[in-house]
């Protein structure tokens, strides 16, 4: 059991460090995700330089480690309506939760794109399973595969993010809605008309033939 937990810790640490390593790649653009599909602030805190903090909303918990920011920042957790992320969701998946960060340096009022240490997001919900996936949402609203697999333990998913250059969506495998096309929503009106017309014409022909014979 301890070995398992140890392994998960190592995996998560590796994940967050790797994300930290790739973070500078995102640093060139600093999108404001409040204008990009995540318009609602669901949790907010001011993080003093070098200090740690935790934000929570619903099943989401955001752990900001000590030293993640060298300046005092206002850290906001954003969400948008889940239905906005349905149209482009990868086949076989359905969105479960979406979120993004907005981090502002309180001294300069500038958006902060990258962090000194990865911020660890943890999502707990009955809809999380080992087949859940963690996606980046680009500023144009598209899904992009996150290079680091999340660490999933039971109904909790964890992932580290060292930048705020993308938003994120956690998905679960979509199941089929049984009997979707079972209802018969057509009516054989054309058949009724055809049968009726054939009978009328046939009957008329019979009567006409009989009259001719007379």
């Amino acid at each position: 059991m301890n070995g398992k937990i140890g392994l998960r810790t190592v995996a998560l640490t590796t994940a967050v460090l790797t994300v930290g390593a790739v973070a500078p790649a995102f640093a060139s653009t600093i999108p404001d995700f409040m204008k990009l599909g995540f318009p609602n602030i669901v949790a907010s805190t001011t993080v003093q330089a070098g200090q740690s903090a935790t934000l929570q909303y619903g099943g989401l918990t955001v752990n900001i480690p000590q030293g993640a920011f060298s300046q005092t920042v206002k850290f906001e957790l954003l969400e948008g309506q889940l239905s906005n992320f349905v149209s482009s969701v990868p086949t076989g998946q359905t969105p479960v939760v979406d979120f993004a960060f907005k981090v502002v340096n309180v001294l300069t009022n500038q958006l902060v794109a990258k962090f000194n240490k990865p911020v660890v997001v943890s999502y707990s919900g009955h809809d999380v399973s080992v087949n859940s996936k963690y996606w980046n949402i680009t500023p144009s609203g598209n899904y992009a595969s996150n290079p680091i697999a999340p660490v999933i333990s039971g109904s909790t998913l964890k992932h580290g993010n060292a930048a705020a250059a993308v938003g994120w969506v956690i998905t679960a495998p979509a199941t089929s809605v049984a009997n979707t096309t079972q209802p018969v929503t057509g009516v054989p009106l054309a058949d009724w008309l055809t049968v009726g017309a054939v009978l009328v014409v046939g009957g008329a022909l019979l009567l006409a033939t009989k009259r001719k014979e007379v």
Binding site: N40, V42, G58, E79, G80, Q81, L82, S83, V86, S87, G92, T94, P95, V96, V97, D98, D127, A172, A174, T175, S176, V177, A178, N179, T180, T181, Q182, P183, V184, T185, G186, V187, P188, L189, A190, D191, W192, L193, V195, G196, A197, V198, L199, V200, V201, G202, G203, A204, L205, L206, L207, T209, K210, E213, V214
Partner: protein, 203 residues
């Protein structure tokens, strides 16, 4: 023999006319049946409370077991296509003649998951192909008033399925093509997400 031929000819004509008359009769019964359902059994909403809208999705209706087959469960309004139709539980020929039918086994409109409402392509759902993304659909049931926003549409072959969702969704389903006066193997589906809900007060 001549007499038999006469009877047969007249019989065929009479039966043929009766069968042809079934077509206007179907439309008349559908219209009158819907009118009676809308008049006699409005959705039993008592007090509707304003709900604080959720962030990921609005407050969903509580999950409950499906009502009895044939029981009226609410009304469907789509102003853009001037549709106001009763909704009954079940999707048999009888239910779909007079109303839009709720597919048993799927959640009621406004509850978590995909709720399927089926309607005939020659009556209630003849014009759902005109619905465009962003347009609104309103459903009133005993659980509240639910407003959905059209997301997209898709064409399924019989036997294919929709995917489940982790938020309240509505799917309107009808046979395709819309002008086909026969049974067809295709189903036109309009998918819409819940964007606003006002739940009825639980008695």
């Amino acid at each position: 023999m001549r007499r038999i031929t006469s009877f047969l000819g007249i019989g065929m004509i009479v039966v043929g006319i009766v069968i042809i008359l079934l077509v206007p009769l179907f439309f008349w019964q559908s219209k009158e049946g819907a009118r009676a359902l809308l008049k006699s059994s409005p959705a039993p909403i008592h007090i509707v409370l304003a709900q604080e809208q959720g962030i990921l999705y609005p407050a969903p209706a509580p999950l409950m077991t499906s009502p009895k087959i044939g029981m009226p469960i609410g009304n469907l309004f789509i102003s853009t296509i001037r549709l106001h139709a009763p909704i009954v539980e079940g999707t048999s020929d009888w239910q779909l003649r007079d109303a839009v039918g709720h597919l048993g086994g799927t959640p009621l409109p406004g509850a978590m998951g995909v709720s399927i409402l089926a309607g005939h392509n020659v009556t209630f759902f003849h014009e759902i192909g005109q619905l465009r993304p962003g347009q609104l659909i309103q459903v009133k049931t005993g659980q509240g008033i639910f407003t959905f926003r059209v997301l997209n549409h898709q064409l399924l072959h019989v036997g294919e399925t929709l995917s489940s969702t982790h938020f309240p969704m509505l799917a309107l389903e009808t046979c395709y093509p819309f002008n086909d006066w026969n049974l067809t193997p295709y189903r036109y589906i309009v998918e819409a997400a819940l964007v606003k809900s006002a739940l009825a007060k639980v008695a």
